[in-house]
Symmetry: C2
Subunit: 139 residues, 2 copies
């Protein structure tokens, strides 16, 4: 963990929020870079909706990716980044317009290969879960 | 397959395009509702970008979901819909701003449970692949 890494600079406003995070309405409630855990929040907006009027699954996948991905990013050193190589998403119930809570965890932090998991909650009900594989690279 | 289903009404303009499809820039190049295959196109735009300046994986997941999902939707009867229950995405290389081609296929069309697969291509290179599980429901 390096508090001068891209992630921490973004968290404390030294670097701008990336576009995808703005689109998803990403915010951070709690970050523990030592334990590799995170609580995020998102905002489901109209442009994510499918014909049934609920959030299209891919946008939930994007939220899960950003939740696990930032849990891992918080542990990275300067000039490291960790692209997702696999994302496996389970959809449990429809998500609607409004706030969504994310809980993310680094399950295995290798020197190169890492595994993470994440959950999304809306109105105290679990909406979707995911596991992911990430590979740490030099920028 | 029913040409009066939601999907076909959307394709021929009798119903409006859903918001998520607009967000992803979804278009249809070729649809074969009998064989359960589809070719889609998307447009990766600035709001999908991660800090590395490439498309955040979740937005690729959204495109893959919409590619498999519409391949299946094209086979549905009136008043059926098929929510995604599982989506497993493999990311092969970064995707950049610009057009992305999707190829989707219904691998197994059960009466209730269905499996699909999809690929995304950009500039003749494969970007991401996915498999998905869907469950057909009555509206």
């Amino acid at each position: 963990m390096d508090k001068n890494s891209f992630f921490w600079k973004m968290v404390d406003g030294r670097l701008p929020t990336p576009p995808c995070a703005k689109t998803l309405g990403l915010g951070f409630v709690e970050i523990d870079g030592e334990r590799g855990t995170i609580e995020t929040r998102f905002e489901a907006v109209e442009m994510f909706l499918n014909p049934a009027g609920t959030v299209q699954g891919g946008f939930l996948a994007a939220m899960l990716d950003d939740t696990m991905g930032t849990a891992l990013s918080a542990t990275l050193d300067l000039e490291q980044f960790a692209p997702t190589v696999n994302l496996n998403v389970q959809f449990h119930r429809p998500a609607r317009l409004g706030p969504i809570k994310g809980l993310g965890r680094v399950v295995m932090r290798g020197r190169e290969m890492c595994h993470g998991s994440a959950e999304l909650w809306q109105s105290d009900k679990i909406v979707a879960t995911a596991t992911g594989t990430f590979v740490i690279r030099k920028m």
